[in-house]
């Protein structure tokens, strides 16, 4: 009994341990050229030195700031917009195709366009990321509002709430679980776009730029270090979001 509950507690760790072990085994047996696949120890060492002596920390910070900035801009514009669009089904229906079209267009395909408009700089990376994340947030918020249970709005109305109060006090909250799904997808998407932008559009810093630089000079441990840091960043942001979500939308799914 005791052993089984212990097993259950630590079972999520087994996959991770197994993965590292497999990696270690493959590296140890030299099944893959060690230049391409350094051992886990070397990669861990690279992460350590990258943070302590190198500027991995600085690159991480830059990437985080860009991602959060893009996410913030997207949220500030698209949550209110989604709320307004969603509360009028007719307006949303008429714009649905446009929103769906641009949501389906790979945001990375828009880089050249944004480059022409905004130039090679900070704003382009943030803008493309915000654009992509924003559409995700927009249509999720709008759907949340459109699918909001009409009974709660009716309940507030019959108690004498004005249209604005129903919108802000009921519909907005009612759509929050779906809005949060949009925001969570949005922040992950913003990270993807920021990393790609750092790789290819004239960046001098950021995790993406670090990955591509390490690859160019064939410094594989450092490349893996940057990749893992990006992975940990993505995972952590998602985790924080889930915790925030659980706190603010405690009624979700109930």
């Amino acid at each position: 009994m005791e052993a089984r509950s212990l097993l259950r507690t630590f079972s999520p760790a087994f996959g991770a341990i197994g993965f590292v072990f497999l990696w270690w085994l493959v590296a140890q047996l030299k099944l893959i050229d060690p230049v391409l696949l350094p051992s886990p120890q070397d990669s861990a060492q690279a992460i350590w030195t990258g943070f302590v002596k190198g500027n991995l920390m600085a690159d991480l910070r830059v990437t985080v700031v860009r991602t959060l900035l893009a996410f913030l801009i997207a949220t500030l514009i698209c949550v209110p917009l989604g709320l307004v669009l969603g509360s009028s089904v007719r307006v949303y229906r008429s714009l649905e195709f446009v929103i769906d079209f641009f949501r389906s267009t790979p945001a990375s395909a828009l880089f050249p366009l944004f480059l022409v408009i905004l130039g090679v700089g900070e704003s382009t990376k943030v803008a493309v990321a915000a654009f992509g994340a924003g559409l995700l947030i927009l249509f999720n918020t709008a759907y949340g509002v459109m699918n909001a249970r009409k009974v709660r709005q009716a309940a507030a109305m019959v108690m004498g709430a004005s249209r604005t109060r129903v919108l802000v006090g009921v519909t907005l909250l009612e759509s929050l679980p779906q809005t949060f799904i949009g925001m969570r997808s949005g922040i992950s998407f913003a990270l993807v776009i920021v990393i790609v932008a750092e790789m290819f559009i004239g960046s001098t810093d950021g995790l993406g730029q670090r990955v591509i630089n390490a690859q160019m000079i064939f410094n594989m441990p450092e490349m893996y270090a940057a990749i893992f840091t990006a992975g940990v960043l993505g995972y952590t942001m998602n985790l924080i979001f889930i915790l925030v979500e659980r706190h603010f939308v405690h009624w979700g799914g109930k």
Binding site: R149, V151, R152, A154, A155, A156, M157, V158, M159, G160, A161, R165, V170, L173, L176, H250, W251, K254
Partner: protein, 270 residues
């Protein structure tokens, strides 16, 4: 005074009439549901609404309470418009009607806050309700942490908080188990006894419709008219024993007659 079909142009409603419905018309997809519908609801009585499926029982109270717009017609509460009248509404589905982001106690306070009452007044009124309902469970919990009956009790307390002139209840106990239903019927009667609030209850359960009511408003199939108004004058408070009394049986039988006549007439006509 009874909930009777009033004729248009009748010399005003009497003092015992609380709600007057005149010339009410509503069509869905070109099919008329109500057409020139007239009705008076008596003051300080419980009126049950019963009728065949799809005859628009809920639609009727939703139009009276302003949840659904009418195509034509007028509804007055003591001669006032809805916007000048405080009403309460208890929905069938308490899970969808309560605000899950507010604690139960804040759900009850919501209509008071809407009316712009001070926090102290909100608190005082809430405590009054808690005392009169003899609530023993923790109102600081969120609605989804409570049982179905407790949630519907919160719904009813929320509807009653602003001292409504009329309380609408749309199949309020149909989602509860029988034990809870009996308990809630008692609660509702106790509220009625202490406040005398005019109540309009939609029910799909004839037993319940008769048991709660002073008058049962029987509706026809669509286009909907009033088939009959059956009075039930058993003394209050009523108990489960009332359900086996001769008076109850007679009233229920009369309702059933009207109901079957309505259903059959239509079937023959079709």
């Amino acid at each position: 005074m009874s909930a009777r079909p009033a004729s248009v142009g009748s010399a005003g409603a009497s003092a015992d009439t609380h709600i007057t419905v005149r010339g009410l018309s509503k069509a869905f997809g070109g099919q008329p549901l109500y057409s020139g519908f007239n009705l008076d609801f008596p003051r300080s009585k419980i009126t049950s609404i019963f009728g065949p499926n799809g005859c628009g029982k809920s639609t009727l109270i939703n139009m009276i309470s302003g949840l659904i717009p009418v195509d034509a017609g007028e509804v007055l509460f003591d001669g006032k418009r809805l916007s000048e009248t405080v009403i309460g509404y208890v929905f069938q589905n308490y899970r969808d009607a309560l605000f899950p982001w507010k604690r139960s106690i804040d759900n009850i306070k919501y209509p008071l806050q809407l009316a712009g009452q001070s926090p102290a007044d909100c608190e005082a009124r809430t405590q009054e309700l808690i005392a009169s309902f003899d609530v023993r469970f923790d109102l600081n919990r969120y609605p989804y942490e409570l049982s179905g009956g407790q949630q519907q009790l919160i719904s009813i307390m929320r509807a009653l908080a602003p001292h409504p002139e009329v309380l609408f209840l749309d199949e309020p106990f149909s989602a509860l188990d029988y034990e809870m239903t009996l308990f809630m019927r008692d609660k509702l009667q106790a509220i009625f006894a202490s406040t005398g609030t005019t109540m309009i209850v939609v029910s799909h359960d004839l037993e319940e419709a008769v048991y709660l009511a002073d008058e049962v408003l029987m509706l026809t199939r669509r286009p909907t008219r009033v088939a009959d108004v059956v009075a039930f004058n058993a003394p209050r408070p009523r108990f489960p024993k009332t359900l086996t009394s001769a008076e109850f049986m007679a009233a229920k039988a009369q309702c059933l007659d009207v109901f079957q006549r309505e259903v059959q007439t239509k079937e023959l006509a079709q």
